[in-house]
Symmetry: C2
């Protein structure tokens, strides 16, 4: 099942979400939760700006939109960007089996930690994902920093 | 500021939320985000059952209810129960400075990992919090397992 065409189709769902978020004036990150049979269980995009809600990262929105489930065994989270610690923690806690990542060039979250803890990580290094975030961050650096909890102070 | 009476007062906000959740038929975990000046920024309780939304852990609801913020430096998350990986990831990503925990007897999440990464952890070992969760888990084992992503299968 995990051929390149399948992963590109999943990434396309996430990328379409990211572009929808951008068109809404939001942060352009999209994600989808894929079931063990390859079908999309839920998809969504970052909605911090749109709803004034800092918990609405793309991955958590996709997870929410998949509804309540008894097991995440065999599921895949596909996301346009390396998942932050918050979203990585979601993946680990709920036992999501695999994360397919558009890019980790503009931001690196917890995907190495997930790999160390038994989650399969697939890094696509997708140029379209990189370009989308590079342009967004260049134009909205403060908003981007807010979304990842970077207050600009030295820790 | 961090005297015992202050921490007990914060825990009381979280415990009141947990009891509200229980009365609604939900999972009895409550939390609050406290500002650097000691005032409550947001509070909430687990709403998985009430809203059919698996992302609504007590800590994420409290964080959401505090609204958008540019910095979490100096804030405290007080929670009735040790934060799961999802909620621990939230604390780490957004730079919440301290976590005050009612108990880690019935469930142990990522608080040691947070401590290793510079978050101040205060463990209260509160008997009321333990009793609340023990009774809930005994009466609702499957619901509780669902909330922490335990599908009952061996990993």
């Amino acid at each position: 099942m995990l051929d390149d065409a399948t992963m590109q189709a999943w990434l396309r769902v996430a990328l379409d979400e990211a572009r929808t978020g951008l068109a809404e004036g939001g942060i352009p990150i999209g994600a989808a939760l894929i079931g063990p049979d390859g079908h999309v269980l839920g998809h969504g995009h970052n909605r911090r700006v749109q709803e004034g809600d800092p918990t609405l990262h793309a991955e958590t929105v996709a997870f929410r939109n998949a509804g309540r489930r008894r097991s995440y065994d065999g599921t895949t989270m596909v996301t346009t960007l390396s998942p932050c610690w918050y979203c990585s923690g979601l993946v680990r806690q709920f036992g999501i089996s695999r994360v397919v990542i558009g890019e980790a060039t503009t931001f690196t979250g917890g995907h190495d930690w997930l790999a160390e803890n038994g989650v399969e990580i697939v890094m696509l290094d997708d140029a379209e994902c990189v370009e989308l975030m590079e342009q967004f961050i260049a134009a909205n650096p403060t908003l981007w920093m807010e979304d990842i909890g970077d207050d600009g102070e030295q820790p």
